[in-house]
Structures are given as structure tokens and as C-alpha cells.
Symmetry: C2
Subunit: 280 residues, 2 copies
């Protein structure tokens, strides 16, 4: 069995207690995701963003769930590369089902297809202006607004939410998928011809790399979630100049990247400076 430590990293961050106005922690444990490529009979058929464990079982489960491999006995051999990033399977396959696999491109809830491909091309070269700043108090007010009016979630327990605060204009969307909710709220701002380069986004879902890149596409400088973020989410935000805030709930806030965009009350500025010394 692999050590759990292989799948996590420690990252520097500032955990702020927003009620007592003090920094309570300087480090967080974050899940690491990687892109694993699946080669079937010598051809690369798909990549998946996932944790680097059980890659062989993952590939087998995926191909059998899709009906591409019909019986476990149809597999001649499975090999996982030493770096864990590639799985090679040779097997007897159902040609019809492999053709169907991408016949109808259906994005299911939580799914995001293209962004990762575009990422490595051009988006990574972006670095958002650091001029836009928000007071901690202001973010807290937005969070309060975000938590209100969630009737769909309250009644069904089954939706994600995204809110975009663009000065006086506020856009809000809900969907079963976190990517859908984000796309909807961005679309609303675009249709209203509102500049998103000074906006603050709050979402209810996990901040994976793809979510962060989408925000960079629209120059959204600060992204807040009441859920977790991933290692690549933090790395992308760092590289793209985005301020990433996770676990923003119950009077706490984890600030992972580009902290200077958030203006803290004097009371905790000292704590902040301790961190800066730690980082330097």
C-alpha cells in the first residue's frame, strides 16, 4: 500500500479567523492531482486528472464501465509507467463501444473538457494585474450574500452555486455541476457586457486547476470557495496571478496565493508580516 503522504503536499498559506481577526495557521495539507494518460493497444485514448494511486484499477474500471473491455479475461497485460503517469493496456476490445466513447460529447455535471488542452498553449502566459484589492470586511459581506438565497440547495442538497461580484452588479447561478454554475455566471456577466477584471468570484465547489484557468480566461483576479482547492489549483493561481481563497466558511478563510490583494485590518497585519518573513 502506498503512503498517503505521496498524495498530499504541505503548502504555505494564511488561515484567518475573520471573527477574532487573527491568523491561526500558516500551512495547509493539499491533495495532489496529476494527469494520467491511458494507452489502449498502443493508442492513447484519454487522460484523466486524478490522484496517483490505483492507476491500473482505474483504467480497468473505466474501460469496463464504458463497455470497451467486456471481460477481465480479455485483458492481455497492464503496465503502469514508473512515474505513474501512463497506463498501458493490451486487450481484446469492443470496437463499437470504443467508437461510441466519444461519439456524443456529453459534459456531465462537474465535467470540463477543453480547458486543460488550451491551458498548456497560451493561457499560462497570463499574469493578472495585482492592482485590484479587496478589504477582508468586503469579502466577508460577499460571503454572507453568497450564503443567502440558496433555496435550490436548501431544498435538494444537490446544487453548486457561483456568484460574481462586479462592483455594484452581482450575478448568480446554480447548477448540478460546478463548471456549469461557473460558466453560467460568467456568461451572465459577458451578456451584460460587464468587465470581470475587477470582480470577485465565490463558488461552492472545489477549486481544481480547470476552475482557476477559467477565471484567468476572464481576468477574474480573486476566487473564493467554501470548499477545498487542489495542488494544481494553487499552482495555477500562483502562476496566473490569481488570489485563491479556500474553505471560506464558519468564520475562517484560507488564503493560498497572492495575499497582498486582500487588505487586512491592522490587528492582523503583524501576523501577516510574520508569514512574509517565513516565506522569504
Amino acid at each position: 500500500m502506498q503512503d498517503y503522504d505521496d498524495f498530499m503536499i504541505k503548502v504555505p498559506m494564511v488561515k484567518v479567523n475573520t471573527k477574532e481577526l487573527r491568523v491561526v495557521s500558516y500551512e495547509d495539507t493539499i491533495i495532489k492531482e496529476d494527469r494520467v494518460s491511458l494507452y489502449l493497444n498502443g493508442t492513447k485514448i484519454i487522460s484523466t486528472m486524478c490522484i496517483l494511486n490505483d492507476q491500473d484499477a482505474h483504467a480497468v474500471g473505466f474501460l469496463m464501465s464504458e463497455g470497451v473491455i467486456e471481460n477481465i479475461e480479455d485483458i492481455y497485460n497492464i503496465e503502469v509507467s514508473k512515474d505513474g503517469l501512463s497506463v498501458f493496456i493490451n486487450a481484446k476490445i469492443n470496437d463499437e463501444n470504443i467508437a461510441n466513447l466519444f461519439h456524443e460529447k456529453t459534459l456531465t455535471s462537474g465535467c470540463c473538457v477543453g480547458v486543460s488542452a488550451n491551458f498548456e498553449g497560451k493561457i499560462i502566459q497570463k499574469f493578472l494585474s495585482q492592482k485590484v484589492r479587496f478589504h477582508l470586511k468586503e469579502i466577508e459581506q460577499y460571503l454572507l450574500k453568497f450564503q443567502k438565497d440558496t433555496e435550490l440547495f436548501y431544498l435538494t442538497g444537490c446544487v453548486h452555486k457561483a456568484m460574481l461580484f462586479c462592483g455594484n452588479q452581482v450575478f448568480s447561478s446554480e447548477d448540478i455541476g460546478r463548471h456549469n454554475a461557473l460558466d453560467k455566471v460568467i456568461g451572465k456577466a459577458k451578456l451584460a457586457k460587464v468587465d470581470t477584471s475587477t470582480a470577485l468570484l465565490i463558488v461552492s465547489g472545489r477549486l481544481s486547476m480547470e476552475m482557476v484557468i477559467k477565471c484567468a480566461m476572464h481576468d477574474i483576479p480573486i476566487v473564493v470557495s467554501n470548499a477545498a482547492t487542489t495542488a494544481l489549483g494553487i499552482q495555477s493561481a500562483q502562476n496566473l496571478g490569481i488570489t485563491l481563497v479556500g474553505f471560506a466558511k464558519n468564520g475562517y478563510m484560507n488564503i493560498y496565493t497572492h495575499k497582498s490583494r486582500i487588505i487586512l485590518p491592522c490587528d492582523i497585519q503583524n501576523d501577516y508580516e510574520v508569514l512574509s518573513r517565513l516565506e522569504s
Copy 2:
């Protein structure tokens, strides 16, 4: 603004208080998802499983996030069909980015590509044997096991989990994506050549249609989640003969479909019969 009621349905179910052994509710409010198709300049480019609101904004946000449409002014017109299931956009597009959109097929966390396409073909014709049954007590014991050993979640707050209980053999997986966790655990059972047709599955994620269909692919007769389920999740489970249990946590359990697979203590059998009369 659309009425929230448009996005939800009331479904019959049995909510059991597993501590006090009584039925506490016979109805639940469930989110409705649908497949929305996006046509760009006359060509269908993608479908998305989503809530039927803000379809125009969703399409605009998606295409602009992917860089397919670069400026809002490049859109000539947008039309949503009367049934809300199709969006037609005519726009000036970036040819390179639309080509990239599906160039590298990367499944991001929570994503599932092929299953839906295969669904309408053959899987829907399946109906699982109703012979396999589980005592409520047994399911509770599995749930206790499921809640233990979640160190990755405890430390990062950022993983999904799936556990497959196949008689004496138990398989467990974690991943950032709920589909990945499910594929991994199924792959483990397949590699161990274990029969999954008498197994019970517990997952931490939302039970959408695709999750249910995957279980049907492997003849898993009972699927339990501590999260929500969707309208199409319930409908597929009903049609495929799968017992679907949602919100299995804190001493409660919502049984949505094929209830007879779960054997209840005599104390609540009467309540159950009330329901049967209500249903008939």
C-alpha cells in the same frame, strides 16, 4: 425569473431514522437535470447535463471560457429552443480553439464522458435481479466502515470515496473525482475477479444518472450515497432495477427505489406498508 419549482420534482421515498427505527418521511424534493445541446453556427458541438436555467448564459460562458468565442461582440445571435433543450449560437469563432476543444480528451475530476452515449443504446434494457437483499443493520455496519479510514479526506477535505462490499471482500478507493473513485473501486473488484452482482456500493458523491448506469454495467444491485441524488439518477435506478439510497448519514437514510431489497426490522415494517398503500 423562472420559478424554482421548474427545477425540482417531488418523488416518493422512504426516509428511515435508523436509530429510532421508524419512517420519518415519504416524499423528497429532487433536483431535475436535463441534457442541453449546443449548436454553434449550425453544428452541434456538445451536450451538457444541467439544470434548465440560464441556457444562453451557460453557452456563452462555456464558449468564452474555452476561447472559442473571444469577444461578446462576436456573437450574432443566440436562441434557446422552446423546450429549453437546445441552444443555437451564431458567432465569429476562433477556429484553432474549437479544434483544440476536443483535441486532447482529458477527463477532469467529476467528469464522465462515454457512459451517457452508451446509455441510450443497450444498457437501459437491463433489469437487475431482485433476489439479492440486505438487512438495514448490515447496511448501517457498512456505513460505519465507510466513515472510518478516511485519512485523505480528513487531512485535505478534497477527496471522494467509494467502497464496494462483496461478501467478505471489501474494496476501497479515493480520488478527487467521484467517477474516478468509482472506476477505481470497480477495477479493483474486477482485477480480483470478484462477482459484483451481489455487492453493495457506498460512495461519497452525488448519484447522477451516469453513476447509476455505471453500477448497472457491473450489475451492482444496491447503491448508497451520503450525498444527494438527481431526478435522472432515480429514474435510471428505477428502470434498471437498482436500489438507490441517498443522504445516508447522521442516522438517516432515504430509500428512493426498489425498497424491497432492504429488509427492515419488524418495528418499521408497518410504516413501510403504509407507503406501499400510498404508492398503489
